[in-house]
Point group: C2
Chain length 510, copies 2
């Protein structure tokens, strides 16, 4: 048994890997052999609506199958789909499709090994402990929301203790909760415990109270025992796929656990990380949150998926795809356009290539990935593989600095994101009534905790299908409105809601 | 690999067994070797309070360790503890203690392989689908409660859609929900789907609507995929322990899944099933629900656990232990008293034996099971083993018939239970105001479904620590009050709440 294998456990039809322990072992044993995989993002055009995917997971799977067919040791890292959404039928599974599928999509789509359920139980237990603290006279109000894995719009705003206290509360979808963010961003169980201890439970006599003041942290970390371990499954072609945490780059950070990517990089040469929804959500968050602020790897390249129809059918929105490609190139990433053809679109290849050439893109990769899987791609990857080989970690990274934004004024920081990722200059960032108040409250909350709001990492919360108040408007008329801010002190994040975001991240079944 | 092994999958530190498929294989292959294990119940005195156990799990573990030390192929079947309760610290783990422990108690206590979480997700998805049916104008009201694995008293009564509909709802603890009962009682995924289709979702224009009328049943059964498989773990001494579903014999049926017991019986000679809380809860439900109505095995013997203090310290309650022993003997079960000693009680053995002799009990089994585990028991099991060997499945089963009570008037049936299991005659069964109305509604509901309330199996819902309105009263003054009834049409059960029961089965953290 290799050292690595001693950290792997069979778990039904998948394997679970104790990434915390294995990475810690590698850290402590610098002579132990390992790989230094390069990260590639698979991201996408902004979707026309949230429930319509461009095929990022299908592309991710086809891409690693194709790379491995060409002799490259590639693996993928996927976020675990939100089981409630999948189970409810609101969107298809998030495990690829057709020839570009996982061997056991049902596992990924239907709860995997209970990871998200464990995070839900732990977050709800935090609420229950806060409730007990209210009963015990140690807390006046509760700040932490309950979570549900099942989408249910009526849970957005609830009252508990109906007929007695009628206490207002809200319920958010599990993957969007602060504890999920903490699991995604932490590199050890100790870090998780520390971050949970810094989560704000509520207030007492007007002052914030953190969980570290009154709970046994081991009760939370015990629940999370196996949930912190990434799962390993494979594609139908036998390529390795790690799955761990973190969907919903629209309403949360949308990043797979950092350790799942680091684990994959220690084991493979190329690690394809799915970063959705669009580039404005998933890629923005990988670059500006994971890489810039939490030590994740700056990607060597990106594949930007679109559908022929998404790219072209709405002329008022067709600015978005080239905007994304150009932004990534400007940041120093080799950004490869990939058009995922649907049935009946094979005859459009010439036209699509011409369109890409007109826009000055790299040569696009085009194929019907559902039908043909990696076979559609293998012959088209020369330039992509060359870009990876030539990529030098120390090379110039374009015109943006990788320096942390911690300490930058929160509003300046969100304006920076809006300019960089959505193309709207600071002068057209509007503040909705109540925003300044919300910002002031957040600033005060942080001060009470002995922290500075400006040190929190900014998370834009928005609709997955829009970047601005009206993406169909002419460029010079596009604006972005800031709505409210919410501090996740344990995760070290400040979420800034933009106009089109849900007030409470809890979708309805559609 | 044996046939059996092909149905077993490693799942982290436990194994999961596809009991549905294996039992179906055995059914279809009568020549395939198998065992015909005898069921033994480990049940207990009625606890002085819910959070104080007598040590049933510890006894169960010590008992199989002792039996195996004596060459008997014994195994145990435990119900999965409610993770929320354990995690919240409201009671100790439910995985034994000291020398009589499981190898990985943390797994059992902290969510196992996500079985209960999957059942929670499926039941909550049913609620979400019902909510969508309301939005779609196919349902006016929702009848099925949401569930939470985390105890939280303020969830007992909630209002959803606060500020819009303010719709009253309630949330019950996951293990008490109808879907858990369905998983416990079903012998195939098809049976689960059928029972879910018969669950009442709510009403439309005054008539009940069942889930089969509007949902895709496969969405529910997919979620339950691995949750229906019993887990196999072991004691520190290496004895096999199956864990699956069903805690809370006070507010629900409190039975491990029937297939987990049938699986164990096919593999071992003696199968020790933990049946708690007290005999009035766990054993009553195994005998009157599982065995009498759902084809489970009538036990060959019972071990009735008490603590020296529980048995003796409250003279007004000391009638309960002999009442339980005598009831089981009257039903034809060899009922062995077992006194689980605490530290410092070793000198009480002589006195306890005398007390048992005075009451006409079988020779009691006495030991400190936390400290000594199975070693405390092995030498004391001659009579117990002899009783098992002499037990003949076809032998007379005492003065009660095993004939089904289906078709018996529901009130007569609950009165039968109250007389038989709590010792209170029909003349002292009182009806609380509103009970008749509740009964009438239930009868009407069943009629609307084309069913008869009297065909539903009666489940008594009560406090775990009491059998009557006042257990401390003199025998001739003891009464039981009937409070309300609730039909679980899919599970085929009618729950009858007795006075001291919670209206909504959702404990608070204590």
């Amino acid at each position: 048994m290799t050292t690595y294998e001693s950290y792997v456990t069979q778990y039904g039809q998948v394997k679970k890997i104790d990434a915390f322990a294995y990475l810690s072992y590698l850290h402590d044993h610098p002579q132990e052999p390992r790989k230094h995989g390069k990260v590639v993002l698979v991201t996408a055009d902004t979707p026309l609506k949230a429930s319509r995917g461009e095929g990022k997971t299908t592309t991710t799977i086809a891409l690693i199958d194709a790379l491995r067919a060409r002799g490259v040791d590639a693996a993928a890292v996927l976020r675990q789909p939100s089981m409630g959404i999948t189970a409810a039928g609101s969107k298809g599974g998030a495990s690829g499709g057709g020839k570009a599928s996982l061997t056991h999509p049902e596992l990924i789509d239907w709860g995997l090994c209970g990871e998200m359920a464990a995070i839900a139980a732990a977050q709800n237990l935090l609420v229950a402990f806060a409730e007990k603290a209210v009963d015990d006279g140690r807390l006046d109000t509760i700040a932490v929301p309950r979570v549900s894995e099942t989408p249910s719009r009526s849970l957005r705003q609830i009252a508990v203790d109906r007929g007695k206290g009628d206490v207002p509360e809200r319920t958010v979808l599990t993957p969007t909760c602060e504890l999920m963010q903490i699991v995604v961003l932490s590199r050890s169980m100790e870090e998780i415990a520390q971050r949970v201890s810094e989560m704000v439970a509520g207030s007492f006599e007007g002052k914030p109270v953190v969980f570290g003041d009154f709970i046994d942290l081991w009760r939370i970390t015990n629940i999370l025992g196996d949930a912190v371990k990434p799962a390993l499954t494979e594609t139908k072609q036998g390529s390795p796929v790690y799955v761990h945490c973190g969907p919903f780059a629209n309403v949360s950070i949308g990043i797979p656990s950092l350790v799942s990517v680091e684990l994959a990089c220690a084991l493979h040469d190329v690690v394809v990380v799915e970063a959705g929804y669009g580039t404005d959500a998933g890629a923005q968050k990988w670059l500006d949150i994971a890489a810039r602020e939490f030590g994740a790897q700056w990607p060597a390249a990106a594949v930007v998926v679109t559908r022929a129809t998404t790219w072209r059918d709405d002329p008022k929105l067709s600015w978005r795809y080239p905007f994304h490609i150009n932004r990534l190139e400007r940041l120093g990433l080799a950004a490869f356009p990939l058009v995922n053809l649907w049935e009946g679109e094979d005859d459009q290849v010439g036209q699509l290539r011409q369109q890409a050439a007109d826009l000055g893109f790299r040569t696009p990769i085009i194929g019907n990935l559902f039908r043909d899987g990696g076979d559609a791609l293998a012959e088209q990857l020369d330039a992509f593989i060359e870009a990876l080989e030539q990529h030098d970690d120390a090379s110039v990274r374009g015109d943006e600095s990788l320096d942390s934004h911690r300490g930058m004024d929160t509003v300046d920081d969100i304006k920076w994101i809006i300019r960089s990722a959505y193309g709207v200059p600071a002068g057209r960032v509007l503040l909705r009534e109540g925003f300044e108040q919300s910002l002031g409250n957040a600033r005060e909350l942080c001060a009470s905790l002995g922290k500075d709001l400006d040190d929190m990492v900014v998370v834009a919360v928005k609709s997955p299908a829009t970047m601005t108040d009206d993406d169909s408007a002419a460029e010079q008329d596009r604006s972005v409105t800031l709505k409210k801010v919410e501090v996740h002190a344990g995760a070290g994040l400040v979420q800034v809601n933009l106009t089109s975001s849900l007030t409470t991240p809890m979708p309805k079944i559609v």
